[in-house]
Amino acid sequence: MPSANTIRLQNIFKYYGDHTVLNNINIEFKQGQIYCILGENGAGKSTLAKVIAGIVSIDSGNITIKNKQIHKLSSSLAAKLGIKIACQENFLFENLTVTENILINNEFTFSNSCILNNKRNNKKAREILDSLHININEKKLIRDLSLPECKLIEIARSFYDNPDILILDEPTAPLGITETENIITSIFEAKNRGSCVIYITHMIQEVSQIADQIIIMNSGSIVINKKYSKLDSKDYFLRSMAGEDYLNRYPKTKAQKGRPLLQVKNISSKNGAVKNASFTLQSGEILGLAGLQGAGKSTIAKMLFGLEEAIAGKTLIDGEDINICQPRHGIENGIAYVGDDTLKGIFPSLNLIENIMMMSYNRFLKKGFLDSEAISIEARESMHYFHMNVQDPTIKISKQSIGTIQKSNICRWALLDSKIYLMDDPTKSLDIPSKVEIYNLMNRIAHSDSGILLISSDISELVGMCDRILVMFKGEIIKEFKSGESCSKDILNCSFGNIHNP
């Protein structure tokens, strides 16, 4: 019989570089209870879950499981102690069957046999799938399953063998109503068997159905840890999740709004992530795009730049109907794309100058050769103009700071006189000084007769820097907020699908 204090976390800290992802976490999880953890994107919920499951190590603090203090928790040790997790990302092997995926970390580790795909194991897989009311053939390959079906298998894997501690990170996000109901029923069954269930979600509706205890995280800290009561208002939870609006820190200036640079009319993506989206971007404007992960924000930017296929709708640039099927069309029409992976946009073995000038080389062709002196001069002038003060611009760019790298990702477009900037989470991995520099850079761009579409999971950043904010939910743009009319809490609420204020 496991001890009543199943897991205790004391003074847990976790840092990723400059960023404190878990800030002095102190919490206990007991058997036979369902704990719901809520919070914005980036609050630290998934990191906390991964710490408990041994997938992520901590920088300081104590973890005690079943009364034993654990000095170094690995994922295999966590599994041995009865902790199972279904992460947000699906960790499934595409080329293996459902049975093999369910059993691989459960049976294989502890058995001598290398063959998983036998009658006995298939039967075991079938049993767990049936108990969860999952109607998928256990012999099917993962690559033949749809995304919701993969999620169900991921969940089945974590339920296998009735773990003492079951962690589910946003399990119902891709699922339909019936499937969600089934999962919720199974969670109650797990609780009744004595398991401790840790359930991470965005959905306040689900919390009211299942929570014994509600935990709200914000910026790496636990701000609320209490017994769930039906009397608690939704507004109270939203405010705790959104935190205070420190809006004055964002260096927003108002630029003169001019002509409509970009008009998007009823576009839909081939992969179904975006449905019937319409909006206009004016020169001088910073237009924000908010929404949960998977709402379709990144896909819109990719469609406008030609990285994702559009199957319907029109895109007008400066009033002209333009067909963008590949990035070259985007570039020719003055569109700049700064993707959400800072390091993906660079040539890591080349230096800063080469990276910034890479797209402008055609201007420096002299009788078939590149005028390297002119290139160097313009590069240095641009670096000065964009306040990129680096000690040595001739070393490999991968050795520069991430702030400098991100600035170069933006500058190379400015050298092309781009007018429409699509920025996907541009300040995500940056330290504070670099963030402030990027915000000022955005001002500069807005003031030079250009427009920015700012996609971000940081709602404060959107409220602080944007003139207008569009909120997306399940592929559609459901509401527009004007600067001054919105606060983080309302936008957060809207990103859950609620058009009206609570």
């Binding site: 820190r249 200036t253 000084p433 001002n443 030079s448």
Partner: protein
């Protein structure tokens, strides 16, 4: 090189040489003469120059003359700061403008906006804006000057301030420091800033590069009383971090 940089170079050239011809400009800028002509068109529209056959000639406007008379130090930086600070002012605002040359440069552009009321103790500012804006209020007191820009200074003049409402106050300072806050070299200025920080909704500090990590004689206000700092200096990582954490805007200049 792109448009804004070319414009700066043409402007500098003309201020120095008074006239310029297209062929000289094309070889300096390394662009076609079509591009140079487009740049000259823009500058002519801005009333900076007059196009003549084969080139352009600097417009000797009152503004340029006034600047050379007053001889402002660190002029380029201060005018960029003033341009950027202008974007923080909205129509119908009631603003306070303090003494000093950066504030004077700010006042030169205020006429572009509608419905602005200005309260000031900076005589050059009141001269500049009077008649072109909705209302000008000059505080009285003994006349002193900083670098040729006269301002009034008197404890009694602060009394009259308490009856006036402003929603934004623009001041320049002698020093800004992470520990010491904003400081001034004269007690009068320090008292003025202290008073203003208490009556204005937002306090905006215009600080060129020379003012940072500098501590003047008298403390004028703590960092916490500042809403926004506008500067041309971009390398101050500790200031960026501290201001962000204390919820203070830090705007760095660029060529508008």
């Amino acid at each position: 090189m792109f448009a804004a940089q070319r414009i700066e170079i043409i402007k500098d050239f003309l201020i120095k040489n008074k006239t310029a011809d297209i062929s000289t400009l094309t070889s300096i800028l390394n662009v076609s003469d079509v591009t140079v002509r487009k740049d000259l068109d823009k500058l002519e529209k801005d009333k900076f120059l007059l196009k003549i056959h084969g080139g352009a000639v600097l417009c000797e406007t009152e503004t340029t003359e006034t600047i050379s008379r007053i001889n402002i130090s660190n002029h380029t930086a201060k005018s960029k700061i003033a341009e950027l600070a202008l974007t923080l002012i909205e129509e119908d605002d009631s603003i306070f403008i303090g003494p000093g040359s950066t504030c004077f440069l700010l006042s030169q552009n205020i006429k572009r906006l509608k419905g602005i009321s200005v309260v000031t103790n900076n005589v050059a500012v009141s001269n500049e804006v009077m008649g072109s804006i909705k209302r000008t209020y000059l505080l009285g007191g003994e006349l002193k000057d900083i670098n040729g820009i006269p301002y009034t200074s008197d404890a009694a003049s602060l009394e009259s301030l308490s009856k006036i409402f402003v929603n934004k106050a623009f001041i320049s300072i002698d020093g800004i420091d992470l520990k010491a806050g904003i400081t001034c070299n004269t007690l009068n200025k320090a008292n003025l800033i202290n008073f203003i920080s208490n009556i204005s909704k937002t306090l905006i500090v215009l600080a060129d590069n020379e003012k940072f990590d500098h501590i003047g004689m008298y403390q004028a206000a703590s960092l916490e009383s500042i809403s926004c700092v506008v500067t041309n200096r971009c390398d101050l990582d500790e200031y960026k971090r501290t201001f962000f954490e204390k919820n203070i805007k830090l705007l760095t200049t660029f060529d508008i």
